[in-house]
């Protein structure tokens, strides 16, 4: 990995970024409607995908924006998406 492409700053060293989780791991829209088991599954069972996944990354030591990156967790190969994440 080493370099992550930020759509605003270009290729930057990975230690400028913080990992923010898999986009599939979304906070449920209506937590009150969920059973304890479902809530527990959301909190503790992260997707932990082996292979390609789309993820939130925070360019915390750069432009401070949240971006989306596709990463292969087997070898940390990256694909740029040029998309911003919906996080703030």
């Amino acid at each position: 990995m080493i370099f992550i492409h930020c759509p605003h700053c270009g290729d930057r060293n990975e230690d400028e970024f913080a990992y923010g989780g898999d986009v599939e791991h979304r906070r449920p829209d209506d937590p009150d409607a969920m059973s304890d088991a479902q809530w527990c599954e959301y909190i503790y069972c992260v997707p932990n995908t082996k292979g390609w996944a789309k993820e939130h990354w925070w360019h915390v030591r750069g432009c401070s924006r949240w971006i989306l990156v596709e990463r292969n967790s087997i070898n940390n190969e990256l694909r740029r998406t040029d998309e911003d994440s919906d996080r703030e």
């Binding site: 080493i2 990992y19 909190i43 932990n48 082996k50 940390n76």
Partner: protein, 411 residues
């Protein structure tokens, strides 16, 4: 064959040509009383204790690759018990003790070496944190004490106080030992095989078969094998394997890196921890400096890890031990840890009857014998020993987590 000094001398005279294989290479039978998935220290150990303590000898250990080739080969061999929560402290204290008789129990030299661990404290914050830690761990019987700068200099004469972060004191932890990690797998394999356990290498489990009563068997790369009791002791892919039985384990896979220098003559006896840098290192019996630090900052299955970690680890060591500046770097690697939300292990029944798991040791080498004893006991008696009650899967739904910060899998 029993290993002994006499045997060694006899085979030495005959140029070591006549040693028999240490364990049988078995092909799977169609059915077993218990199957263990994972031929590392934890899995082979569980099979050994099933046979030796519970009289269950119709057991197979299924290993995808070769035995001891996973995280048993990828750890840094250090066995410590500085944990801060009662359940963890009790368990790890007993785990350290479980190592001491292992060479005798297995008739196999695991090269246990009592090194002691010295933690270097480099700020007032480190020091007050250390006092809290020492006071807490001594409540649980761990022999841990704060040492003065003078004593630290005596224990670590090579350490130099960096100007920007002067050393203010240390912690000494005499009970810390190291063991030859490969020997642990080989010793368990040999002892288990002798009691009738089948060790099946190159046998990947591709599916876990269940009916309404629970586990019925496994589908493997060497065919279908039936069993009513299945134990899982895998690292790095615990989530994927358990998912074959529709059991969702609350774990995330994170690389923990280690690296070694080329071997040199003995120069360092203690295991050294640089508290403020989250870094530790020691010299193995082979003479290599073995170095490690915190887990990678993002989850991954890469057995290489991110380059930031070795860079920071080496920079930290050189700040305090400039004497190692010209050491040659030999190897670097990562072991993929299964990490739970509370950094504590899972040794538990699951919602599938007959399916048991021993996973997420967050650096589980140090607990190998005790975790294996407990896993075997759980499988044999279908109820957890009081020592592992806190490690049940139900803690995630009940909220009774053990939020341990003293493991290297820190979040």
């Amino acid at each position: 064959m029993k290993y002994s000094a006499l045997n060694l001398a006899w085979h030495g005279l005959r140029n070591h040509g006549g040693w028999p294989p240490a364990w049988r290479h078995a092909s799977p039978k169609p059915s077993y009383d218990v199957i263990i998935i994972g031929g590392g220290g934890h899995g082979l150990g569980a099979a050994f204790y099933l046979a030796s303590q519970h009289g269950i000898t119709n057991v197979a250990v299924l290993e995808k690759g070769w035995i001891g080739g996973g995280n048993t080969a990828r750890n840094t061999m250090t066995i410590r018990d500085n944990f801060l929560y009662p359940d963890n402290a009790r368990f790890h204290r007993a785990a350290v003790e479980s190592w001491h008789t292992l060479s005798n129990d297995l008739n196999f030299n695991i090269m246990l070496s009592k090194r002691g661990m010295t933690t270097v404290l480099m700020s007032d914050r480190d020091l007050s944190d250390a006092k809290r830690m020492v006071n807490t761990t001594s409540l649980f019987g761990a022999e841990h004490r704060i040492i003065t700068l003078e004593e630290l200099r005596k224990r670590l004469p090579l350490a130099e106080s960096p100007e920007r972060l002067p050393i203010v004191g240390g912690i000494h932890h005499p009970d810390v030992v190291i063991a030859r990690h490969d020997a642990v797998a080989w010793g368990y394999a040999r002892a288990a095989s002798k009691l009738g356990v089948d060790i099946v290498e190159n046998c990947e489990v591709t599916d876990i078969l269940c009916d309404a009563q629970g586990v019925t068997g496994v589908q493997t790369s060497q065919g279908k094998i039936t069993t009513r009791k299945l134990g899982m002791a895998v690292a790095g892919h615990g989530k994927q394997v358990a998912a074959m039985a529709d059991v969702h384990l609350p774990i995330e896979s994170v690389p923990l890196q280690a690296m070694v220098s080329t071997p040199v003559k003995p120069i360092l006896d203690n295991v050294v921890v640089l508290r403020g840098f989250n870094t530790y290192f020691m010299q193995s019996d082979k003479g290599e400096l073995v170095m490690g630090s915190a887990a990678d900052p993002y989850p991954s299955y890469s057995q290489r890890g991110t380059p930031q970690i070795p860079e920071a680890t080496i920079a930290a060591i050189l700040q305090v031990f400039p004497v190692f500046e010209r050491m040659q770097f030999m190897r670097q690697w990562a072991g993929v840890l299964d990490i739970t939300y509370d950094n504590s292990p899972i040794i538990s029944k699951t919602e599938v009857d007959g399916f048991y798991v021993d996973v997420a040791g967050s650096g589980g080498f140090k607990t190998t014998p005790l975790a294996a004893i407990m896993h075997a006991d759980l499988i044999a008696n279908n109820r957890p020993d009081p020592l592992i009650e806190a490690y049940g899967l139900e803690r995630f739904s009940s909220g009774r987590l053990i939020l341990e910060r003293a493991s290297y899998g820190n979040r």
